[in-house]
């Protein structure tokens, strides 16, 4: 018995919608098995992990808070991946963006004016974009693999942040803890009560970005250019599209979004810099981008699904004493399932007996 792939005459539209659903279904089953292996009730685990976060207003609020940076970063990454640019260093761009955006509130804490707010966001976007331009420029100029360079720069950014908060930017009133001074009120994202759920500006920004990216991808020449270059660089070249400019554009765009997302997390949650500012949003966003089929609306849904797994991990830890690390394992499995299920879009899978179809045909 073995698997055999039969190419479909054309891409299956049904499977394009179904494959992420199948992948999520397989992840739920895997989760049940993992819980059972740890000697816990699988059904209770599945309920707590996947459904409990949706059952309270507080859960929905946390869901929006976790999904927001994931969606923002994944949107940028989707443009990279669609055009065959493998930016996997969003975590570093997030960190550098947050550092660049924190320059004003950390170095000029007494400058408490409304103009600080847009400047912080602008500098964060610029910082993230500039940092993302490094691997892009190296790819364009020297042909260096952007996969490896963008990832290496993540480690450098994290170490740089560590040095800043332990060295020159350490708060003089922080009892020697590795933290900067608290941001002043102009550089803080306030939450507002929206029907019992407290949300801040960043969630609105993520929703606007989803709409903007949908329009950009489907209705503009730039969106067409991205898709053509991704599917066939040769066809893109004949159409006069520059793959090099596209590399720089998509990297800078995704870096800017990662920087913004990182800055808004800092402004909303901790309001200062510390050695660790993100629970790996930049890496998890890669899963979000693929689970969302590199489509802006899909990414919005995928961001919510992955956010559930973050909260579910906390829920099973407090209620059932199962390690929250299960969430990371399931996120990795989910990406595998998504990629494997995508095969169904182009191929039909057949189980064949001992001999391959060619031999059978000959016999």
């Amino acid at each position: 018995m073995r698997l055999e792939l039969v190419k479909r005459p054309e891409m299956s539209r049904k499977m394009m919608l179904l494959s992420p659903v199948i992948a999520v279904g397989l992840t739920v089953i895997t989760a049940g098995i993992v819980f059972a292996l740890q000697g816990k009730d699988p059904l209770q685990g599945i309920y707590l992990f996947f459904l409990d976060p949706l059952s309270s207003l507080w859960g929905l609020e946390q869901l929006a808070i976790k999904a927001t940076p994931l969606v923002l970063i994944a949107l940028g990454l989707s443009f990279c991946y669609l055009s065959n640019n493998w930016n996997i260093g969003a975590e570093g761009q997030l960190t550098m963006g947050a550092i660049a955006g924190s320059i004003l509130p950390v170095l000029a804490p007494e400058f408490d004016h409304w103009v600080v707010f847009p400047m912080v966001l602008l500098m964060a976007a610029a910082g993230g974009a500039a940092y993302a331009t490094i691997p892009a420029a190296l790819k364009v100029r020297f042909g260096t693999s952007e996969i490896l360079t963008s990832l290496m720069l993540v480690y450098c950014a994290t170490l740089f942040l560590d040095w800043l908060v332990r060295g020159p930017w350490r708060s003089p009133t922080g009892y020697n803890f590795p933290i900067t001074v608290d941001f002043n009120s102009a550089a803080v994202l306030n939450s507002y009560d929206i029907g019992g759920v407290y949300l801040n500006f960043s969630t609105l920004a993520a929703v606007i970005a989803v709409l903007a990216f949908t329009v950009l991808l489907r209705m503009t020449l730039k969106g067409f250019e991205i898709r053509v270059i991704g599917q066939s660089p040769r066809a893109g070249a004949f159409a006069g599209f520059s793959a090099r400019r596209m590399t720089l554009f998509t990297f800078a765009l995704s870096g800017a979004l990662a920087g913004l997302a990182g800055m808004m997390v800092v402004m909303a949650e901790i309001q200062k810099l510390q050695p660790s500012i993100s629970p790996g949003y930049g890496f998890t966003a890669i899963i979000v981008a693929f689970l969302g089929r590199l489509n802006p609306l899909g990414i919005l849904v995928a961001g919510i699904v992955i956010a559930i797994s973050y909260l579910g991990g906390e829920a099973i830890q407090t209620t059932m004493q199962i390690s929250s690390k299960v969430a990371t394992v399931l996120q990795g499995m989910l990406l595998f399932y998504v990629l494997a299920c995508d095969t169904l879009i182009l191929y039909r899978i057949r189980l064949v007996g001992g001999r391959s179809s060619r031999e059978t045909a000959r016999a």
Partner: protein, 304 residues
């Protein structure tokens, strides 16, 4: 001082060399497995667990090797049987490996490990300077060189190695000649996983006999860069691994050498060095392209 530096360079280079050699074979067969980091970290947790439960560091190394190979099997199934995108699947493997190893290793955090013993030959090991360097290493250091020699012989002197390279360069023709493209690639990926697992186990059994979450700290990615640096030649990977080992340990000796940089900047060095080396290598395009397997990362579906 010099002796101490050389000794730490060797232990820092060995895990990189093991992982890079395995990945080199996988890439020669045309499969780009970006999940080295995930396989290494699974090897590290497996090796640590194997060593402390049985008390035998060598058994730990074997468990680590198996853990790496088993992890790679997931990648092989998804990319070879289901022809999924290799880049994305490699990333998935890394995340999966980091997550699962953290889960498995939770109970091992803070436990003391068992260190792989070093060779000791009376007379030879006691020689000044050359003794500890040449005759005082642990078994895996010697094994890593045997492995490089064996892989080099296999790839360029054996018939099976020729088939493997042919599959990596033109899977269509190799398939037409009747070779099993998918079968050979499965074996190459599993070999790569086993080597990465060994490299990971070396970290938790010999380098620092401890389990710490994410203890590979990007070494899997450095190993991937080493394969490019080596332009897919095993002996050059050994040279690269030792260069990187030297850069990595520089941070521990920097103070004694009178380099006054903050520790975070020194810790950045291996990552920055990787970027610099990749740029330097890719600048020399003709040479890299000559050895790059032509079908690297290209999925293969047998036609009928």
């Amino acid at each position: 001082m010099l002796e101490a530096i050389i000794l730490t360079v060797i232990t820092a280079a060995t895990p990189l060399l093991l992982a890079a050699t395995g990945e080199l074979v996988a890439e020669r067969s045309g499969v780009l497995n970006l999940g080295v980091e995930g396989m290494m970290v699974m090897g590290a947790v497996g090796g640590f667990a194997g060593a402390i439960t049985t008390g035998s560091p060598l058994f730990g190394m074997a468990v680590g090797m198996l853990a790496g190979a088993a992890t790679s099997l997931v990648f092989a199934f998804v990319t070879l049987t289901l022809v999924a995108n290799q880049v994305a699947s490699g990333l998935a493997l890394t995340m999966f490996g980091l997550g699962l190893s953290g889960l498995i290793g939770e109970s091992y955090v803070g436990q003391p490990g068992i260190k792989l013993p070093s060779l000791s030959i009376p007379g030879l090991t006691d020689l000044p300077f050359v003794g500890p360097i040449l005759f005082g290493q642990d078994a895996m250091v010697y094994f890593s060189f045997v492995l490089v020699a064996a892989v080099s012989w296999f790839l360029f002197r054996s018939r099976a190695g020729l088939v493997l390279r042919a599959i990596g360069d033109n899977h269509g023709s190799a398939h037409a000649l009747g070779y099993s493209v998918i079968g050979v690639r499965y074996l190459a990926v599993i070999f790569g996983g086993a080597c990465a697992g060994l490299g990971g186990a070396y970290l938790s059994v010999a380098y620092t006999p401890l389990w710490v979450e994410n203890m590979t700290a990007g070494r899997g990615w450095v190993a991937l860069a080493l394969v490019v640096f080596a332009s897919w030649l095993p002996w050059r990977a050994a040279l690269g691994a030792y260069l990187f080992g030297a850069v990595t340990v520089l941070q521990f000796h920097a103070q004694a050498l009178g380099i006054g940089l903050p520790s975070q900047y020194l810790a950045m060095l291996p990552y920055l060095a990787t970027v610099v080396v990749l740029v330097a290598i890719s600048g020399n395009r003709r040479k890299t392209r000559f050895n790059t397997p032509a079908c690297l990362g290209v999925p293969f579906v047998p036609d009928r």
